[in-house]
């Protein structure tokens, strides 16, 4: 039997176990654990890459670095921000959605580099090194939920700031409904139906939190799990004939996830944030 088959392989453990043994333990659950380190790495890489490009100022005849940065900027402006943000919200919220796009993209991409952050250790020439693994900060519901809550509160604060609370909360209701006048002679059925519609609209605002955060979280979690399962199929099933299928499938899925899904999910998150915020600033269209 190959030695690899004796390893106790659990593809889920790398996404759950790190919570219980953080690197630095702090009160209020603000531990510094693997996910926090990954987020810091993403923030550092984003900042340093931007500084490298823009440190010497922009040139009229752009070189390779500046062209790449301009492509990303143009994508953020023409595809992400113009999809939802109106002109007056552009100045405040274009930096936010562009940062969201770049930051989430970088978190996803760092998630596909094998880094020594595993729970178990192995010996390399006498050194005890943590196992290499691929883990993304966005494969963690806390990270995506925090980003989603920023968008959620930004949406409603901007809606109230631009429209006033009465007009904004009225704009949640679809147009063309009969107006509710409690002292007028409305039939109670109309009032009940209006209440139901209001309830559904409030629920749909709250479901946005779930859908926006779960989409990113499960995309990255399921992507990493599928790669890990295919590459560890021999260890899971206890036979190494499946390596013939497992390794090519694992590599193919890795390529798909790293090239397409990582960028696409960042794009979707930023675009939907722009659409939500823009829809709150201008509720009529």
């Amino acid at each position: 039997m190959l030695p690899v088959l004796k390893v106790d392989f659990n593809p889920v453990s790398e996404f759950t176990d790190f919570v219980h043994n953080p690197y630095v333990k702090l009160p209020l659950g603000l531990d510094i654990n693997k996910a926090v380190i990954y987020m810091w790495m993403a923030a550092a890489v984003t900042t340093i890459l931007t500084l490298i490009v823009f440190r010497k100022g922009l040139k009229l005849r752009p070189d390779g670095k500046q062209t790449s940065a301009e492509v990303i900027y143009d994508l953020c402006q023409s595809q992400v921000a113009r999809a939802g943000l109106p002109e007056e919200g552009m100045r405040i919220w274009f930096p936010y959605v562009a940062t969201l796009f770049v930051f989430i993209w970088m978190m996803n991409l760092i998630g596909f580099i094998p880094l020594p952050f595993g729970e178990r250790h192995f010996d390399l020439f006498g050194l005890s090194i943590p196992e290499f693994q691929i883990y993304a900060a966005t494969a963690n519901l806390s990270v995506t939920l925090a980003l989603t809550l920023v968008t959620f509160f930004a949406t409603h604060i901007e809606g109230i700031r631009y429209n006033g609370p009465v007009k904004y909360f009225k704009s949640w209701m679809p147009s063309g409904l009969p107006s509710p006048k409690p002292w007028g002679l409305k039939s109670p059925a109309v009032l009940i139906l209006l209440g139901l519609i209001a309830l559904i609209e409030v629920l749909s605002q709250l479901v946005r939190i779930v859908s926006l955060s779960f989409r990113l979280f499960f995309n990255m979690l399921a992507g990493h799990l599928v790669i890990a399962v295919f590459l560890g199929l021999a260890s899971l099933l206890g036979t190494y004939f499946v390596l013939v299928v497992g390794i090519p499938m694992g590599i193919a899925l890795y390529t798909l996830e790293a090239t397409l899904i990582a960028g696409l999910q960042a794009f979707i998150f930023a675009t939907l944030s722009a659409i939500y915020i823009g829809g709150a600033i201008h509720p009529d269209h």
Binding site: A83, F214, R215, G238, F267, I268
Partner: protein
């Protein structure tokens, strides 16, 4: 490979597989529709290709997310069963 374990474990494993697989049917059909309709639309009006591609990816991601609701609930049921 010898099979051992109990009915409880096998039911959990079946639940995970069934919930994920059944949840993948709808989004699979939907994603196929989105790409097919986009190809059709680009065939009719090739000059709109840029705008249609952006919309296509938005619709793709929104549709594809539905499978993850099934997967998430399957994991929850697997964990608490």
């Amino acid at each position: 490979m010898a099979l051992d374990g109990n009915i409880h474990d096998s039911a959990r494993a079946l639940e995970l597989g069934l919930a994920t697989g059944l949840g993948a049917i709808g989004p699979g059909i939907g994603v196929g529709f989105i790409f097919g309709k986009t190809i059709e639309a680009v065939g009719r009006q090739p000059e709109l290709r840029g705008q249609l591609t952006g919309l296509m990816w938005l619709g793709f991601a929104l549709t594809e997310a539905i499978i993850f609701y099934a997967l998430g609930m399957a994991f929850v049921a697997y964990a608490i069963a």
